[in-house]
Symmetry: none
Subunit: 221 residues, 2 copies
Amino acid sequence: MEKDFGSMAALIGDPVRANILWTLLDGRAYTASELAIGVDTSAQNLSMHLGKLIKAGLLSVEIQGRHRYYTFSRPEVAYAVESLAGLLPARPATTTASADLPIRNCRTCYDHLAGRVGVELTESLVRQKLITRSANDFVVSKKGNRWFGQMGIDCEALRQQRRGFARACLDWTERRPHLAGSLGAALLQKMLDEHWLRRMANTRAVLVTPKGQKMLSELFR
Amino acid sequence: MEKDFGSMAALIGDPVRANILWTLLDGRAYTASELAIGVDTSAQNLSMHLGKLIKAGLLSVEIQGRHRYYTFSRPEVAYAVESLAGLLPARPATTTASADLPIRNCRTCYDHLAGRVGVELTESLVRQKLITRSANDFVVSKKGNRWFGQMGIDCEALRQQRRGFARACLDWTERRPHLAGSLGAALLQKMLDEHWLRRMANTRAVLVTPKGQKMLSELFR
DNA sequence: GGAATAGTTCAGCGCAGAATGAACTATAAA
DNA sequence: TTTATAGTTCATTCTGCGCTGAACTATTCC
């Protein structure tokens, strides 16, 4: 028994696997490549780790076409992850220095915008009554549909996709939700295409360009 | 945050450290040399591992003469260890032999009662509407307050403690929750004091005395 | 059909981190 | 005082396991 416990602990104790579990904590199903982006490792390596987690019965897969969606096999896994996170020492009074780190300020969460900028953008959309919160999703108003249309984003098309259309994703730095789902992804893509934002290498941090600064303050404040 | 979680998981994920935590799960304080024997490794190596667990705040030491007694620094650590154990694959066709092992039947989890007896006792309390489940805690009803009072347990005093009052701790053999927290600890202590239960040496198993059999079946069925 | 995308498997490399041995401090007994 | 026990620290060795690159299968799209 203690042997079993040791191997279970070792299983969770790898940085990559821990990050996978941490990512899955939002309850959504992720494909292998999404996870590879999220935990920032190669596809092969991730595949190996997923295999171990599957074999141990922590995760389950659902195969859909050429995609494989990974989730927790049962809620107990999420509870255990949370109880582990609960052991972390209480955050030592976030310093102004670390509060200004780019990664806290403006970053991507999988394929949409997160961090302070992501949250404030989302809240601006709500204030302008372009979207409204509904449980774990956002609902786009008629006014919002037009607005996104003018941005070159076709909400109807996005709604057809399998994945969530306009999810509310809880931000771990801001502790407030930001716009996710296919709509959030499309919005980020648009802002990257228009060179309002630029991805930084080897990190999820995102840079706001001068042009972006102008456009964002115009559209969202 | 994910980094912190990863390092916490890695901390627990070493075989020796996992065994240390597993050993300490009985709530007793162990000296370094006792642990070295228990987890079967050298003294120096163990000392190194204990140092890491201490630095991470999972364990605390009390120095008495030339001995150093190690324990969990707080009950949450024990809960997390149990929840990890709960992830172990369902035992393949539990033989009648292993199902009857004392350790499965009646044991302590850190400082409260677990195993089949612990779970059934908890479920009896729920049936009698003395407590009700609420997320990861139990709520004690007015009737329950009186009941615990008659047992000589002062719920109000227990509520003042820093630690959780009536936690629901998931049992790794029964896969159902049992009563933990300061209330669970007080109840176990009471049953030990009244000689309904007796701790067995060098194990987490607990013996139900004849007197205990009588009282338990009276109170809980 | 061919090309692109999604994902896995396998062999070999590399390194973080665990284990070891020796030296050290400190308490307790004789 | 000397000896034994309890425990830690440090420098060094060693090894398990994660990571990479290459090759592979499977599905979708054109």
